[in-house]
């Protein structure tokens, strides 16, 4: 993939992305936050776009997050999986009545190959590399990573 960047004074910034197949994507990020997307197919003389799309700032960010493999809707927690090659990342929410609530992390037994990366507590800063002393509360989200089997085994035990 090749990315070329150009400043458009008064308008914003233009990114020309050429992917492996030779197709091109031109993205203009306007000062107003608007994004303009144009798609050019490889092999064509490349003068007129096949597709053009306008996105608002919010839409563009959402699309970017989806493209980056990060789904961030809290409702979707539980089946949110992000692939890192053969490894996966899983977000596990502590629901009311869960046996995790009130437990210290030290009491938690993780299957080999699964690792606890962070605890996300609503209204508080993210707790990265949480210490064993952290006590889980209802509403917390555990961020777990590891091999697919280990993470799925962990999910089954909860």
């Amino acid at each position: 993939m090749r990315v070329e960047e150009a400043v458009l004074p008064g308008v914003g910034r233009k990114f020309t992305i050429t992917v492996q197949s030779g197709d091109r994507l031109v993205i203009v990020v306007h000062h107003s936050g608007k994004r303009e997307l144009q798609y050019f197919e490889a092999g064509e003389d490349g003068d007129e776009p096949i597709m053009a799309l306008d996105l608002t700032d919010e839409e563009a960010r959402e699309l970017g997050a989806i493209l980056a493999g990060v789904l961030f809707h809290p409702e979707a927690v539980g089946d949110t999986q992000s692939k890192l090659g053969q490894k996966v990342i899983e977000w596990i929410k502590v629901l009311p009545g869960s046996k995790l609530a009130g437990k210290r992390l030290a009491e938690l037994t993780l299957p080999p190959g699964a690792h606890l990366l962070a605890v996300d507590r609503p209204g508080a800063p993210l707790i990265p590399n949480p210490s064993p002393e952290v006590v889980l509360e209802v509403g917390d989200t555990l961020v777990v990573a590891g091999s697919r089997e280990a993470v799925e085994a962990l999910m089954r035990t909860l």
Partner: protein
Amino acid sequence: MHPSVEAFALAAGLLAFGAALVHRFGFPPLPVYLLTGLLMGKALPVQDLEPLPSLGLLLLLFSVGLEFGPDRLRGLSGKAVQAGIYDALALPLGFLLGLFFGLDLRGAALLAGAIYVSSSAVIVKLIIDLRRAANPESEVVLGVSVLEDLVILVLLALLGGQGFQGFVLSLLLAGLYLSLGRFLGPSLVTFMENLSDELVLLLGASFTTGTALLFQAAGASVGLGAFLAGSLAASLGLRERFERLFGPVRDLGVALFFLVVGASARDLFQGLTPAVVALALLGLLLKLPLNYLGGARAGLSRKRRLYSAFYLVPRGEFNLVLGALAQAQGYPLVAQVAVLLVLVSIPLGAVLTRFAPELGRILLRETQSRPARIP
């Protein structure tokens, strides 16, 4: 109530009506503001609108300075510079044209500037409104605009002062502003980031108008002052913030400003001579082939070259600055040409830009269908 409120309500209503009318057809609103002024100028108490139109021009030049300041030179691609060199040939040609029409050196230089400089503000607006930002020619056209504005900056600093003293002061002030931005800018960026939006807005407004007044007091060009204030603000890392904070205020002021330009053009048309019309037409025609060739140097396809020549037709803010300067320095002919160029080139440029694809198809049809027949 103050009579300005009445005038403002009337003007804003007319402008909104005009803009709504053309919006349906996907046409940019700028030329409509001029035409509204031209048609309704008699009925409108234009004088009562002040100081909004004057502020509009200052803010327009400020934001042009913000976006097209000297620091943009670094980001310019080689192709844009190549196109800009061809484009700059309009200066000597315009100068010769001025001499041919019996102007002295100073007058001819002012005329050359008026013929040479396209309006970056109008072009940017057309490109955004007509959704051409992603096209390859837009990059070249905007790059050429950066160069044009810098050349005009030098021209204004050289010609802007009245008398020798004004000339020296003008150059000194311009140099001071540019070096302030260059050397003081980087260290002040974080300080500026901590200021609140409101403070930045107020500081910006007083800085722009204050600079314009300072330049006027020194006998230099007010427009040059506003432009330099903008480029100084850009070097303080305030570009995006000012763009966001000032954008709406500027757009309103600019709309009113163009309305007033249109309204005051009625007097201009009464004193129109063949020489003025001939010079304006020649000026418009002069740049088209230059920009077409420039587009070729920048590696654009035939169609895109044509587009880029069309995009660069509109003359605007700097023509009005040069026109006011020419009037003050006793070159009414140049002033008339400069203003007539604005009046003609903005609607014409908007039409050409809007219908560039259609025009390109008509103008380049022969050459395009030929290779298709070979197989």
